[in-house]
């Protein structure tokens, strides 16, 4: 257990020094600030626009960080051969992989935390209270990012960063449209497409992690709206990490 945390702390430290993440974070922060002006041109919807754009920024920037870290962190370890001196120690390969993943989750939580604080600071300009209702949506963004990071780690366990990034982004986008695909399927007259579309949505649906509309428009959010997607996310993460470990454990590090 100790090895996971040592490797995770090292991964976190590495990400902390990554300039690409600093620049992307700055860009996302600028975009949230810009939402203040976007709110000004809306009709009495200032607060909703700022929150909606803010949450979207957290999600999009988070997905970028998850994919970028997921595909690069493991690859860099192999490319620079730093992994040689780690696996030569009494450390199992799955400890390296899960330690790296844990480190990425620590980075993602830090990033989301910082951006959430920033979003609350920006919303303080237009309303004087802290809107705690945003937190379930932010919690599910973290779960979704953890799923995306697990996808990235899975592809990185056998492929190059470019291909891994490409596959991961593709899978993420598919996950975002399966909800609509399911809706089309229900209305479709083609029985085969109907079965395919509804089953795909049942198995793989990243839209399940989106509570943005609910919290921004102050619709009721029940406990199961959070816990069910969270459990589904953990299920996906479990599958992806198991596949990653199976791929990684017998791979030759040339």
């Amino acid at each position: 257990m100790r090895h996971y945390f040592i490797i995770a702390a090292n991964t976190y430290s590495e990400a902390r020094h990554n300039k690409v993440l600093h620049i992307a974070g700055g860009f996302a922060a600028a975009l949230i600030l810009f939402s203040l002006f976007m709110g000004e041109v809306s009709l009495y919807q200032n607060e909703k626009v700022v929150k909606d754009v803010g949450l979207a920024c957290i999600s999009i920037f988070g997905v970028f960080v998850a994919i970028y870290l997921g595909v690069n962190t493991l690859f860099k370890e192999l490319e620079r051969r730093t992994i040689y001196s780690v696996v030569s120690k009494p450390v199992d390969r799955h400890e390296v992989l899960l330690g790296k993943y844990l480190g990425m989750i620590m980075v993602l939580i830090s990033v989301v935390f910082m951006m959430t604080v920033y979003l609350y600071l920006v919303t303080a300009f237009i309303e004087s209270k802290v809107d705690w209702a945003l937190l379930p949506a932010i919690g599910l963004i973290i779960v979704e990012l953890a799923v995306v990071a697990a996808m990235a780690v899975f592809f990185a366990s056998f492929s190059t960063p470019f291909l891994s990034g490409f596959f991961c982004l593709g899978l993420f986008l598919i996950g975002r449209i399966t909800h609509d695909l399911g809706a089309f399927g229900e209305r479709s007259k083609n029985p085969l497409f109907k079965i395919f579309a509804t089953w795909i949505q049942k198995i793989y649906d990243l839209e399940a992690f989106d509570l943005r509309t609910h919290v921004v428009h102050k619709l009721p959010v029940y406990a199961e709206d959070f816990w069910l997607p969270a459990a589904y996310g953990l299920f996906l993460i479990g599958i992806l990490l198991t596949l990653s470990i199976l791929t990684f454990r017998r791979r030759d590090f040339k």
């Binding site: 040689y84 030569s88 009494p90």
Partner: protein, 318 residues
């Protein structure tokens, strides 16, 4: 300590390219307390063998044991220090953080490491670099810090892949001294290299590898013949009689204005004793012909000769 039995490794660049055997039935063993040199040209399979020992790559055939246990055993790994070839380490860490990271992976607690880190930095000649970032290190400094992480837990066996790479002559000497120091403490050192002088200086036993095959293994005394390979003689006066006599000999003769250079080698079936008496005869005769002998130097076989002879036995290395 290390036991390798019929180890083979096949690589395939892509699924459409043919399989290439980079290691072919290699067997050897390393016993406790010895410094063992793993010698071979680039691409001979030295690093592949070492990578297999740590399961960085997996053997296609054969088996290997460390401390009598199969590869991958954690208790064995905890007793080994490893320096990879051309190491690149996390450049955002300082020396101290880097050694702390590796020490913790080895199961050492913080208090032990706080005490041990200055000691190993001192041992590898890096005292005072605790707070320097690895990104500011030269290649030689990285090699030394790599050595430090290999010995931070005071291992029983140290495996070094090309440890002299990137080091200046002083650095190389320091690494050789470190190996001797480790041996004096009862540790076993296994290192790969293609620098022959390093092997001759510190190794008890040597294995020569080429094209994935183990060509020769043994102590330096076993590998290098003690017999004289040839004798070099420089004669001071070049009178005609002396030149005429030397020309009758089955030897290489070079004549300059005021000296004669004679290279006398033993015949294929000539014993060492017979060759010595032949050299002595030539010297006496030369002196009696009025020559002045300036120097006589018998040349013994070197490890380089053995290496070139062995590696040269095979066709192209690639």
């Amino acid at each position: 300590m290390i036991e390798v039995k019929n180890l083979s490794k096949d690589y395939r660049q892509h699924f459409w390219t043919p399989v290439r055997r980079v290691l072919d039935s290699v067997s050897f063993s390393v016993t406790q307390g010895e410094v063992f040199g793993f010698l071979g040209p680039n691409g001979s399979g030295k690093s592949t063998t070492i990578k297999i020992l740590f399961e960085i790559v997996f053997a296609t055939e054969g088996e290997a044991y460390l401390f009598g246990k199969p590869l991958g055993d954690k208790s064995s790994k905890a007793r080994i220090g490893f320096l990879p070839e051309n190491p690149y380490f996390y450049d955002y860490l300082t020396s101290r953080q880097f050694l702390m990271f590796h020490g913790q992976l080895l199961g050492l607690d913080r208090a032990t490491l706080e005490k041990r880190i200055p000691e190993v930095l001192d041992l590898v000649g890096m005292r005072g670099t605790d707070s320097l970032y690895l990104r500011n290190f030269s290649k030689g400094m990285l090699q030394r810090i790599g050595l430090a992480q290999a010995i931070v837990h005071d291992p029983d066996l140290v495996i070094l892949d090309e440890p002299m790479t990137g080091l200046d002559p002083v650095g190389r000497k320091e690494v050789r001294d470190l190996m001797v120091h480790l041996q004096d403490q009862g540790k076993t050192v296994f290192f790969s290299t293609h620098i022959l002088s390093d092997v001759e200086t510190v190794c008890d036993r040597v294995a020569i590898l080429n094209k994935g095959k183990l060509l020769k293994i043994g102590s330096l005394d076993e590998l290098i013949s003690v017999d004289t390979k040839y004798v070099d003689m420089v004669w001071g006066s070049s009178n005609a009689k002396l030149q005429k006599y030397f020309k009758t000999l089955d030897a290489k003769l070079s004549i300059s204005a005021d000296s004669l250079y004679l290279k006398l080698a033993p015949h294929a079936d000539e014993s060492a004793k017979r060759f010595e008496s032949r050299v002595s005869e030539v010297v006496q005769k030369g002196l009696s012909e009025g020559g002045t002998l300036h120097s006589l130097s018998p040349k013994k076989e070197t490890l380089e000769d053995v290496f070139v002879k062995q590696v040269g036995n095979l066709e192209s290395r690639v």
